[in-house]
């Protein structure tokens, strides 16, 4: 069943004030969608509706279709858990286990029949993937609860991408996690998942193929990213890289130059007012 997700569709409900949402948005594997809007505009509600596979029975009145159909109740309330994975800023590891034990336990509950070598490989691949996202390497013997914020987030993402096998991934704010966000999204999207992420981060928002704009609890617009925005994204990524480079130098205890940016070059390219 897990492999059979060809699409999810969000059918509009209404905003907090009861205004109808004129939306029928169909997403397919590989789609990366940002959910943007001010704090309190209903981003988490939208993700919650998808997680719940709402059938016009949540406060928003939205309806979520799986493969163009309302899901059967057993999929909605039982299997639905394996359909949709969630990542959010306030999630933690609480289990008293090492990284390796934890991956083993997760594999066991996913009913993945691996031999001992298969399990070794799986642990290796999850840890390796996680380490691509964070500067502080994780080793399989580390207790989960001893992981830093960035390490935890990286492990969660790697685990979600590789082990969770859920075709739909919902992300609520991952920006401040101290990880390589672009890589993180690439890992998730490359695994042919449908990824929706609520974000205030301009780079993450523009990395998405489209973005859902929320206002007072309702979907106000769905925008496709265009060429201008792709150009802007490139500039923002350069700026981001510059800031990261500064951070790295600071970490290493180096002295810094007077500017992280080459403003003359930016001005020459018409990015900055001269």
């Amino acid at each position: 069943m897990m492999e059979d997700i060809q699409s999810i569709t969000i059918l509009g409900g209404h905003s907090k004030s009861g205004e109808a949402e004129d939306v029928a948005l169909r997403l397919v594997p590989g789609d990366l969608v940002a959910v943007v809007g001010p704090t309190g505009s209903g981003k988490s509600r939208l993700l919650a509706d998808i997680e719940y596979i709402a059938q016009r029975d949540t406060p928003s009145g939205r309806c979520i279709l799986i493969n163009d159909q309302p899901p059967a109740p057993e999929i909605r309330f039982d299997m639905g858990r394996k359909l949709i994975a969630q990542l959010s800023q306030n999630m933690n590891f609480v289990m008293d286990a090492t990284v390796a034990e934890f991956i083993t336990l997760h594999a066991e509950c996913r009913d993945t029949n691996l031999g001992e070598t298969g399990l070794e490989e799986l642990i290796h691949s999850v840890v390796t993937q996680a380490n691509r996202l964070t500067g502080e390497p994780i080793v399989p013997d580390t207790p989960l609860t001893a992981l830093s914020g960035g390490q935890s987030r990286s492990l969660m993402i790697a685990d979600t991408a590789i082990l969770s096998d859920s075709p739909i991934v919902l992300i609520d704010e991952i920006e401040n996690a101290g990880i390589d966000r672009r890589q993180a999204l690439d890992i998730l999207v490359q695994n042919q998942k449908i990824v929706l992420m609520a974000t205030h981060d301009p780079i993450l928002a523009l990395l998405a193929h489209s973005r859902i704009v929320l206002k007072s609890g309702g979907i106000a617009d769905v925008l496709e990213s265009d060429q201008d925005e792709s150009a802007l994204l490139e500039e923002l990524q350069k700026a981001d890289a510059a800031i990261l480079a500064v951070r790295e130098k600071l970490r290493r205890g180096e002295r810094l130059a007077g500017s992280a940016f080459n403003y003359a070059e930016l001005a020459a390219n018409g990015i900055l007012e001269a």
Binding site: R81, N92, F93, D96
Partner: protein, 236 residues
């Protein structure tokens, strides 16, 4: 009137969850009330009262909480009927993991939270095993993988219950739980009904107020722990 028994460890989020579900039931035009059974102290009755939910509070004090429950639930049900409730929810915390307050044909809900540890489901006994619905709370603060592992552990213990994930803060999941409560069987009276699981075998001298330690002070139903090579005195 429907009688629903809801039980789970302290601080697993029972009251928060029930307040959300009762909101939903109200929206459907159903009137719900609560009996809160606790051992030592509870302020949960105030939370229900603040929301306009009719509530009774029963503290077992120095009695076995399950005995206290079973000897009082019938009168509580009559109280619920006198208020013309559609649904009476009996909520109890703690207990001893040896028994459960679940009654045959009265919908039984076990509440357990993701933070309680992956091995907790196997330790909960009939409280989890005999439930019709298992509501798992606090899923928003643990990793996806841990939620899955925890649900898997719950499923191993209880193979038939519907497992729901409920967020007591946002109310996420309340619609499904509410719908299941609203569909529960009606129960007119409890006289002669049966518990789903027997109470612990009593009674020993300590049940009757003995506090001294020692062979001479032990009477009644006493069970010795197995310790190799240490002779144990016979209990009279």
């Amino acid at each position: 009137m429907k009688l629903i028994t809801v039980a789970g460890p302290p601080s697993s989020g029972k009251t928060s969850m029930l307040l959300r579900v009762i909101d939903w039931l109200k929206e459907q035009g159903l009137k719900a009330g609560v009996v809160k059974f606790d051992c030592v102290a509870s302020k949960d009755d105030e939370r229900y009262r603040a929301k306009g939910v009719p509530v009774l509070l029963g503290l077992a004090g120095n009695l076995c909480p399950d005995h206290y429950f079973v000897t009082n639930i019938e009168a509580c049900a009559r109280w619920g009927q006198s208020l013309e409730l559609d649904i009476l929810i009996s909520e109890s915390a703690g207990l001893c993991n040896r028994c459960s307050p679940f009654i045959r044909h009265a919908l039984a809900v076990c509440v357990i939270d993701n933070l309680s540890g992956a091995n907790t489901p196997t330790k909960m006994g009939p409280l989890l095993k005999q439930a019709d619905i298992v509501a798992i709370t606090k899923g928003d603060i643990v990793s996806q993988a841990e939620r899955e592992v925890f649900q898997y552990q719950v499923r191993k213990v209880n193979t038939r219950a519907e497992i729901l994930h409920i967020n007591g803060l946002t109310g996420q999941g309340k619609e499904r739980l509410g719908a299941l409560l609203a569909q529960a069987e009606d129960i007119d009276n409890l006289d002669g009904r049966k518990l789903r699981f027997s109470m612990p075998a009593a009674v020993c001298s300590y049940c009757l107020g003995e506090t001294r330690i020692g062979h001479d002070y032990q009477m009644g139903n006493v069970k010795s722990i197995a310790i190799p090579d240490v002779p144990r005195p016979e209990v009279s």
